[in-house]
Amino acid sequence: MATTTATITLASSDIADNALSVSNTMTLTTAGTTTGITETTGLARIKMESTSLTDLITVANVTGFTAAKSAKVYIKNTGTDSAKFGIIGIGDSGGTPTNIGRLYGGDWMLFPWDGNSGEDITIDMSDATATIIEYMVFFE
């Protein structure tokens, strides 16, 4: 068993009259237990140079992945241009994925992933400028 933690800190001194300071740490565990997740894809980096909708993470390519558990996915757009983005979705690039949102340059996201059949994670870049996308899946 491994111990992996993810901490988020949301902070602002001026979005409201009082400061915003949210901090939360979770330990990545297998579904319904306190046992730490022991499998990961490791941190991957992929260069996106096309505006074609494509699968960023395919369920079938994550060896040993079990759907509907407590997998977590980290994705980051390492670009620096605040006007360029990749749309992250759930579905299949051969169909019409459900869009979650846009990762602009420098943005990251972390979310739970059911990863049932046909629920790949897709990306659709706003332009063909070479952009490095990082991702990492924690799964069981």
Binding site: I8, I15, S82, T98, G101, L110, P112
Partner: protein, 143 residues
């Protein structure tokens, strides 16, 4: 304009042969700009069971202005302490994953269609979630 940052730290000393230590910080901007997000909604609530309930979306009485070209951000945390309890999180009709007790998520959110809400479905009673929605604008419902 406000300045709001979201920082992630991922760490483990024993998941891999070498230690994992990853840190990422983003400033929350409006879509395609370097102007900070200036709308916020921060709530804590107990989720009823038996159905899927919208927490953020255009169909809410104080819903988000529709538009795919937005850079809203959403943080959701399951505050339950029983590790067997979870809420399913939906975007539109897709169950994207489970937030077990203690878990949190942080995602960008576009609302390109009126059906593109974020919703939760609690598998047991007394599950409290917290969520913070940082956004580009909402529309108050009429009385």
């Amino acid at each position: 304009m406000a300045t709001t940052t979201a920082t992630l730290t991922l760490s483990s000393s024993d998941l891999l042969s070498n230690a994992l230590s990853l840190s990422a910080t983003q400033t929350l901007y409006k879509a395609g700009t370097t102007t900070g997000l200036d709308g916020i909604q921060y709530e804590r609530m107990e989720v009823a069971t038996g159905d899927i309930y919208d927490i953020v979306g255009s169909s809410q009485s104080n819903g988000i202005a529709l538009g795919a070209d937005k850079a809203h951000k959403l943080y959701v945390a399951n505050k339950h302490t029983d590790e067997t309890k979870y809420v399913d999180v939906y975007v539109a009709t897709v169950n994207i994953g489970r937030l077990y007790a203690g878990d949190w998520m942080f995602i960008p959110l576009e609302v390109g269609a009126a059906t593109q809400d974020v919703a939760v479905d609690a598998v047991s009673t007394s599950q409290v979630i917290e969520w913070c929605f940082l956004h580009e604008g909402k529309t108050l419902g009429q009385q």
